[in-house]
């Protein structure tokens, strides 16, 4: 593709995470809009499904996708609008991966026990 190995992986991950988050967003606005039907409406029934552990693991993936996509997006903006950005695209990509992992630690620390406890 267009910028050697890391650039290509950065792009593939950016695409996949972006499409995943966008599709989640479409579903998510529908689920929240179910509150329009009131307390006796379909919202709670939908939530039962949302609170199942496979879905909660999926939500962790959504969080990871948002964090990676957002940070990598900032990297793309730096490459587009600075004179030095493209030169440092590789270290910046490792920075994006590292920051995503670091942010992942407290997130997993909090959410995984919640899932294991079953709520």
């Amino acid at each position: 593709m267009y910028r050697g190995r890391e650039g290509q992986w950065a792009f593939v991950l950016h695409r996949i995470s972006g499409v995943a988050v966008a599709l989640f967003l479409l579903l998510h606005v529908i689920d929240i809009s179910l509150v329009m039907f009131g307390p006796e409406g379909p919202f709670e029934a939908f939530l039962v499904f949302y609170h199942n552990w496979p879905f909660r693991v999926g939500l962790i993936a959504v969080i990871a996708a948002v964090v990676y996509h957002g940070l990598n997006g900032l990297r793309i903006i730096v490459m587009d609008f600075t004179s030095w950005g493209v030169r440092y695209q590789k270290p910046m990509w490792y920075g994006v991966l590292g920051l995503t992992a670091i942010i992942g630690v407290p997130v997993l620390w909090k959410i995984v026990p919640e899932i294991l406890r079953g709520a």
Binding site: L26, V29, I32, V35, M36, P39, E44, G70, F81, I115
Partner: protein
């Protein structure tokens, strides 16, 4: 490399390249919009994820919780910006993907029309959820149910 030469690369990397490559001025506008909305979405999405996953247990989200959140004007205004920018940024991103992977012009057109129609309807749902209700009333309805 001149700007024009670099513009031959697959994806534009600077504003000048984007201008040289853009097939129309609206494409250039979207290129700029993706970057501006992207910068706004980092704080918007991160704060939203923080509020619902870190400051709260997402496994305990229920009707009462959402109504309590949507009662707050600040949450509604915040969510309106999140909804607007995430929808435009997300749908435009999906459109880029359709343009990259769907080769046949008729299919491409069809997929885009399906995307815009579905996304448009969902966006209207989102706006209605945020602004067409008085959640104060819904909140008291929930409290009444809870005390029965």
């Amino acid at each position: 490399m001149s700007t024009a030469q670099r513009a031959k690369a697959k994806r534009p990397r600077t504003f000048d390249e984007a201008r040289a490559m853009a097939s129309s001025s609206s494409e250039l506008g979207w290129w700029v919009f993706m970057r501006i909305s992207g910068m706004l979405l980092v704080p918007l999405a991160f704060i939203h994820l923080w509020a619902n996953n870190m400051a709260f247990n997402a496994g305990e989200i229920d009707f009462a919780y959402v109504v309590a959140r949507l009662q707050q004007p600040g949450v509604r205004i915040f969510n309106s910006f999140l909804l607007l920018f995430a929808m435009l940024h997300g749908v435009n991103g999906l459109r880029y993907s359709i343009e990259d992977y769907v080769r046949r012009p008729e299919r491409r057109f069809l997929w885009k029309m399906i995307l815009f129609t579905v996304a448009g309807i969902i966006f209207i749902f989102g706006v209605m959820t945020l602004w067409a209700f008085t959640y104060e009333e819904m909140g008291s309805a929930v409290r009444a149910l809870g005390s029965e």
